[in-house]
C-alpha cells in the first residue's frame, strides 16, 4: 500500500495528502491500464520467456557444468573455460570466424552501397533490378547452395569450364569448396551473393532520407557526380553505414547455414567457424557444457559489437 503510494508521488502525480479518494481512483485506473497493457504483451511475452529467455539463462548456467544430456549434471567450475585454450578446433574456428568477418563485411557493404546508389536513379526497369538483387536473400539456402556447389564444381562446373576456355591451366584451377585454400573464398563469395540485396534495400531506405536540397546546393557549386557521392551521399549515409556494419558483423559472427550446406566446415578445419563448432560439440559429441562455453564466447563477441553500437549511437545523438 505505502509502496504504491510512494510510486504515485514519485511519478509526480498530485500529492497524496488527505484526498484519499482521488489517489485510490487514480491508482485503480493505473492498475486497470497496466492490466490492459499486460494483456497486450502477454501472448507474445509468455512464449518468448519460456522458449527464448529461459533457454538463454540455462545456456549460461550450462557453460559451467558437465553434461551429456542424459546422465546427471555435475558442476564443472571453469573446466570448460580452460578447455577452450587446449582445443585446436576452437582456436581454428575462432580465427576462421574473424577471417570471414574481416573479408565479407567490407565487401558486402561496398557492393550494397554501390548498387543502392545505382538503383536509386531513375532508370528503366528499376523495380525489376531491385527485385532481382534481393531474390538470392529470400531464396532457400538448401536450394541455392546445391546450385552453387554445382556451378563451382572443380571438375565439371561451368565456372572452371569458363576459366578453362579462357586458357587457364587445369592444374592451377581453383578447387573451390573442395580446396583447403579456396574453401573460405567460396563461402565468402556465396555469402556476399546471398546477402548483398538485403543491405542494398537498407541503403535504399537511407538514400531516400537524404535531403534533395543538399544535392541542389552541390550542383550550384559545380560538383560532379563523384564529388556529390563523396561529399554528400557518403557522409549523409553515415548512420546507415554504421548500422549496416554492425548488422553485418553480428551476422558474420553467427555464420553457420551456408557453411553447413557448402563445406561442412572442411576441408580439414579450413572453414570451421564458431557456430559450427558449437553445433558439433552439442549435437555430435553431446558435450553440452563445453558447447555452451563456446556459445558464451560467441555471445560476448556479439555483445561487444552491440555495446559499441549503442555507445556510438549515443555519441551521435549528443
Amino acid at each position: 500500500m505505502s509502496l504504491s503510494n510512494s510510486v504515485i508521488i514519485a511519478d509526480g502525480a498530485p500529492a497524496a495528502s488527505g484526498r484519499k479518494v482521488t489517489v485510490l481512483s487514480k491508482r485503480q485506473r493505473r492498475i486497470r491500464n497496466a492490466l490492459v497493457a499486460y494483456s497486450f504483451i502477454a501472448p507474445n511475452f509468455i512464449g518468448f520467456a519460456v522458449f527464448t529467455l529461459g533457454p538463454i539463462l540455462f545456456a549460461f548456467a550450462l557453460a559451467f557444468m558437465h553434461w551429456d544430456g542424459s546422465n546427471a549434471i555435475t558442476f564443472a567450475g571453469l573446466d570448460n573455460f580452460w578447455l577452450l585454450f587446449e582445443d585446436k578446433a576452437f582456436i581454428a574456428a575462432f580465427w576462421n570466424t574473424v577471417i570471414y568477418t574481416v573479408a565479407s563485411v567490407p565487401a558486402t557493404l561496398v557492393c550494397a552501397l554501390g548498387l543502392a546508389v545505382l538503383l536509386n536513379q531513375k532508370i528503366v526497369g528499376r523495380d525489376f533490378f531491385r527485385t532481382a538483387m534481393f531474390f538470392p536473400y529470400v531464396a532457400s539456402l538448401v536450394a541455392v547452395a546445391v546450385v552453387w556447389n554445382m556451378i563451382f564444381n572443380p571438375e565439371m562446373g561451368p565456372v572452371n569450364m569458363l576459366l578453362y576456355t579462357l586458357g587457364l591451366d587445369p592444374k592451377n584451377m581453383p578447387g573451390w569448396a573442395a580446396d583447403r585454400h579456396w574453401a573460405m573464398v567460396t563461402v565468402i563469395l556465396f555469402g556476399i551473393w546471398k546477402n548483398m540485396g538485403y543491405y542494398m534495400v537498407i541503403y535504399l531506405a537511407g538514400l531516400q532520407g537524404i535531403n534533395a536540397e543538399l544535392y541542389e546546393a552541390a550542383d550550384l557549386d559545380g560538383a560532379n557526380s563523384w564529388q556529390k557521392f563523396i561529399h554528400v551521399t557518403v557522409p549523409q549515409l553515415g548512420p546507415t553505414t554504421f548500422f549496416v556494419t554492425v548488422m553485418l558483423t553480428i551476422q558474420s559472427f553467427k555464420v553457420f547455414d551456408q557453411i553447413y550446406m557448402i563445406t561442412q566446415g572442411g576441408p580439414g578445419t579450413s572453414t570451421l567457424v564458431l557456430v559450427y563448432h558449437i553445433y558439433n560439440e552439442a549435437f555430435i559429441s553431446w558435450d553440452l557444457g563445453y558447447s555452451s562455453m563456446v556459445s558464451l564466447v560467441l555471445f560476448f563477441l556479439v555483445l561487444a559489437v552491440t555495446v559499441f553500437q549503442f555507445r556510438r549511437q549515443k555519441e551521435d545523438e549528443a
Partner: protein, 278 residues
C-alpha cells in the same frame, strides 16, 4: 549542351551496363537451376551451357513427387509457415502496441529484455531450448517448431518501431471517442501498419519456409519433415540425379517467390520505417 547531353548518355550506358551485369550474376544460378531441372543428369554439366534444353525433360517434375514424399513435405512446411506467420503477426503487433502507445510498470525493463535477445545468436541457446522441448515431450512434433519461431523479439521490435511513427494524437482522439485499447489496435493501428505487417510477413514466411537447422534438429520422423529437410535428404540420396535435384529445388523456391513478389512493393517502405535511427 550537346557535350552535356553526350556525357549523360555515356554515364547512363555505364549505369545500365553495371546494373545488368550484376543482375545477371545474381540471377544466373537461378537460370542455371531452371535450365538444369529440364535436363537429363548427364547433360547438366555439358559445356558450353545449353540454356534452353532441346528436349526438355518435363518428366523430372513428375518423378520428384514419387521419389520422395514431396507433397507431404510441402503440406508440412505450409502448415508450419502459415501458423507461425499468423501467430507472429498477431502477437507481435499486439505486444508492440503496448510498448509503443501505453504506459505501464516495468515497460522499459521488459523491452530491454526483448532488445537484448535480438543480437543473441540462436545457436547460443539452441541446445538448452532443445533440452527444454524434450522435457516438454515436444520432440518430433510440429508444435516445437511453432513455439520456437512464433514469438520473436524481432517481430515485436519491428512493429513497435512502426507504431512509434504513428501520431499518438490519433489514439488520444479515439480514446475520447470512447474506443477501448483493443478497438484502437484493431481499427486504427492494424490498418495503418500494412507496410510493417508486409515486411514482417516476408521475413517470417521466408525464414520459416527456408529454415532447415530447426527442423533438422527437431524432426526425425519422415512424415513430419519439411521441404528443406526433404530436399537435403534428396540431395544426399540421389546425389548424381542432378536434373531431379534441380527440379525439386525449383519447386521449393516457388512459394517464397510468390509471397515475395506479391508483398515486395511494401518492402522498402517497411524496412525504412523500422527505424535505422534506432
Amino acid at each position: 549542351m550537346r557535350i552535356a547531353g553526350r556525357k549523360v548518355t555515356i554515364g547512363t550506358i555505364a549505369i545500365y551496363a553495371i546494373v545488368i551485369a550484376v543482375t545477371l550474376i545474381m540471377l544466373m544460378p537461378f537460370a542455371w537451376m531452371l535450365s538444369a531441372s529440364l535436363k537429363l543428369s548427364r547433360d547438366v554439366f555439358a559445356f558450353p551451357i545449353e540454356w534452353i534444353p532441346s528436349v526438355p525433360q518435363w518428366q523430372n517434375y513428375v518423378d520428384i513427387w514419387t521419389k520422395i514424399p514431396l507433397a507431404l513435405f510441402i503440406y508440412n512446411t505450409s502448415k508450419l509457415t502459415i501458423i507461425v506467420t499468423l501467430l507472429q503477426l498477431l502477437t507481435s503487433s499486439f505486444a508492440a502496441y503496448a510498448f509503443a502507445k501505453l504506459n505501464f510498470p516495468y515497460k522499459n525493463t521488459l523491452f530491454l529484455g526483448y532488445i537484448a535477445t535480438i543480437a543473441m545468436p540462436w545457436q547460443v541457446y539452441m541446445v538448452p531450448q532443445f533440452l527444454l522441448m524434450r522435457e516438454f515431450g515436444l520432440n518430433n512434433t510440429h508444435l516445437a517448431l511453432i513455439c520456437l519461431q512464433a514469438f520473436t523479439a524481432f517481430g515485436v521490435f519491428l512493429m513497435r518501431q512502426f507504431y512509434m511513427s504513428i501520431p499518438t494524437e490519433l489514439c488520444e482522439a479515439a480514446r475520447i471517442d470512447g474506443m477501448n485499447e483493443y478497438q484502437i489496435w484493431a481499427r486504427i493501428m492494424l490498418p495503418l501498419s500494412k507496410p510493417a505487417l508486409s515486411t514482417l510477413t516476408i521475413f517470417t514466411f521466408v525464414s520459416t519456409w527456408n529454415d532447415f537447422l530447426g527442423p533438422m534438429i527437431y524432426l526425425t520422423k519422415t512424415e513430419l519433415k519439411t521441404v528443406q529437410i526433404g530436399l537435403r535428404m534428396f540431395i544426399s540420396q540421389y546425389s548424381a540425379e542432378y536434373g531431379l535435384i534441380m527440379a525439386a529445388s525449383v519447386v521449393a523456391l516457388i512459394p517464397v517467390l510468390i509471397v515475395f513478389l506479391v508483398l515486395q512493393r511494401f518492402f522498402v517502405e517497411g524496412i525504412a520505417s523500422t527505424g535505422l535511427k534506432g
